[in-house]
């Protein structure tokens, strides 16, 4: 199976690899997947408390090229978005943008889950309730 050019580009030049200070109250961290399943994503957002917008996003991913590309793309999309806009990011948009084949859709699902987990972590830290999300279908 060959990868799309966009996946290869994200793999070779991943955007926003790194770690944010998870002890800060305006940083939300989502860790999803499992080593046994062959992919683990950690996605972090830093929220600008004045504007409520996501001012920085970072990721680290253990996984195949599509998993790395999905998380790299997710961090790019998150920057500058409000929390509500971030919640609305759908895995199928990632599939479309990266041209993921059906066997790699789970990588995009994982990225969506990571975004939601990071947002919930941020909400909890700031005294808000966790949002309930529908169970992802494609796992």
């Amino acid at each position: 199976m060959s990868y799309s050019e966009k996946v290869i580009d994200h793999y070779q030049n991943p955007k926003n690899v790194g770690t944010l200070d998870k002890s800060k109250s305006n940083v939300g961290t989502g860790l999803v997947g499992a080593p046994e399943c062959g992919d683990v994503m950690r996605l972090q957002i830093e929220v600008d408390e004045a504007t409520g917008l996501i001012k920085d996003a970072k990721f680290k991913t253990f996984g195949c090229g599509s998993a790395i590309a999905s998380s790299s793309l997710a961090t790019e999309w998150l920057k500058g978005k409000s929390i509500d806009e971030a919640i609305a990011i759908d895995n199928m948009a990632i599939v479309e943008e990266l041209n993921l084949p059906p066997v790699k859709i789970h990588c995009s699902v994982l990225a969506e889950d990571a975004i939601k987990a990071a947002i919930n972590d941020y909400r909890q830290k700031n005294g808000q309730e966790s949002l309930k999300f529908n169970e992802s279908v494609v796992h």
Partner: protein, 405 residues
């Protein structure tokens, strides 16, 4: 000058040796006859060529030419051996012993046998990938008719003690079948010294063409018979009907002859390169060798690089280096290699493995380049691996509640 891509997946298949191709060519055009045509020179010529190839093939494994049944490949030979023995020896028993890291062509054939009313014991191999002889002997019952154990494993290259296995089998009057696809042509295999009764092997793993293989079927001490799995003109002494693939068989013969003549030299050269590759890659932090260190094919190594995922790792260099990974992130199940899991490797290590298969045309430059590329990619991916970061911070990964999906 390095030419790309570099091929290091010789356990999957090998290129045809140019000498093999040269030997085959006349049998596509001028000497196109059917080896079963008994009444004209075209047929005689083809038959003669097949006879000659049969001798070349037999010689490589220390067999008599009459004991070689040509097939379409090793999968067919595996099927013919196991199903053929199961049907032929039904009056004696219905129990077969095999192991859990056999090739799918053996495992799935055994599954089929179970559906047909047979009983199959799947021995668990030891952590080094070898069959436990005591367990093997303990598994034998009065109804056991066949022990089917691979000569060498395709993923980790470990070589089973076939002599010891067949000695046990003989003691109990059980036949021994071995899928020897990875071993024949690479290491000395002798069906008499090894005590093997049936053996499957194929041309394309030893620099011959695809689409042709053989089943060795012992004719003396004991005389072994298999029930044909393909009905037709009664070719190959009635055990495998179908017009013989004359050019393929000629190529197979030539490939065997070359292996026979050059094995010793080639093993020395290739194992030296393999050792270099293995030594250099095991210098990478948190890298682990899979399978037995000693009892191993000279051209194979399998290494796990913890905290990076195999398929992601391959992507770093697979435009230039052709390699195989034990990780299968392409299926919905995300199941890593069943062979590595059978060795007791955790899924994390199984997902992080690379299989290197060197070959006749592998050069030292290619190995140096591969070491450099693999090491650099492992380092790069670890920089973006959350697991590596946790490992470096001393976090116990078992203490984390992973969201299994």
């Amino acid at each position: 000058m390095l030419k790309f891509p570099i091929y290091l997946d010789h356990n999957a298949t090998t290129p045809c040796d140019p000498r093999v191709v040269e030997a085959m060519i006349p049998y596509f055009t001028n000497n196109f006859g059917n080896a079963a045509s008994r009444n004209h020179p075209f047929g005689w010529q083809a038959e003669e060529a097949v006879d000659y190839a049969r001798e070349q093939v037999a010689k490589l494994i220390g067999a008599d030419p009459k004991e070689i049944i040509f097939t379409s490949g090793a999968t067919e030979a595996d099927n013919l051996a196991i199903k053929g023995v199961f049907e032929m020896y039904a009056s004696k028993g219905n129990h077969i012993i095999t192991c859990n890291i056999e090739h799918k062509a053996v495992l799935d054939t055994c599954k089929h046998i179970e559906k047909e009313g047979g009983e199959v014991t799947y021995l668990k191999v030891k952590d080094n990938g070898l069959v436990d002889l005591a367990e093997l002997e303990a598994a034998i019952k009065p109804t056991t008719i066949l022990i089917a154990i691979m000569y060498a494993n395709n993923e980790i290259g470990t070589i089973n003690p076939m002599k010891e296995i067949s000695a046990i089998a003989k003691k109990h009057g059980v036949l021994v079948f071995s899928d020897a696809v990875q071993a024949v042509g690479k290491i000395p295999v002798d069906v008499n010294k090894d005590g093997i009764d049936l053996m499957a092997f194929t041309a394309h793993k030893m620099y011959g063409p695809k689409g042709v293989g053989a089943l060795y079927v012992r004719r003396k001490n004991p005389r072994v018979k298999v029930t044909a799995q393909m009905d037709g003109g009664g070719h190959e002494r009635g055990m495998r009907s179908g017009t013989l693939n004359v050019p393929g068989i000629v190529g197979f013969g030539k490939a065997c002859e070359i292996c026979m003549n050059e094995m010793e030299e080639e093993t020395k050269r290739v194992s030296k390169l393999r050792d270099k590759l293995q030594t250099e890659l095991l210098k990478v932090e948190e890298s682990y060798l899979n399978g037995d260190k000693e009892h191993k094919l000279p051209h194979v190594t399998n290494i796990s690089f913890k905290y990076v995922e195999g398929e992601g790792l391959l992507m770093g260099f697979n435009k230039n280096i052709a390699l195989s990974s034990g990780s299968a992130c392409t299926s919905a199940s995300l199941e890593p290699s069943y062979v590595l899991k059978a060795l007791g490797l955790g899924d994390d290590l199984a997902h992080s493995s690379l299989r290197f298969g060197l070959g006749r045309f592998t050069t030292e430059d290619q190995i140096d380049y591969t070491v450099e590329q693999v090491t650099a990619t492992v380092n790069k991916l670890r920089e973006m691996s959350p697991l590596w970061e946790m490992y470096k911070e001393g976090i116990d990964m078992n203490s984390i509640e992973w969201a299994h999906h």
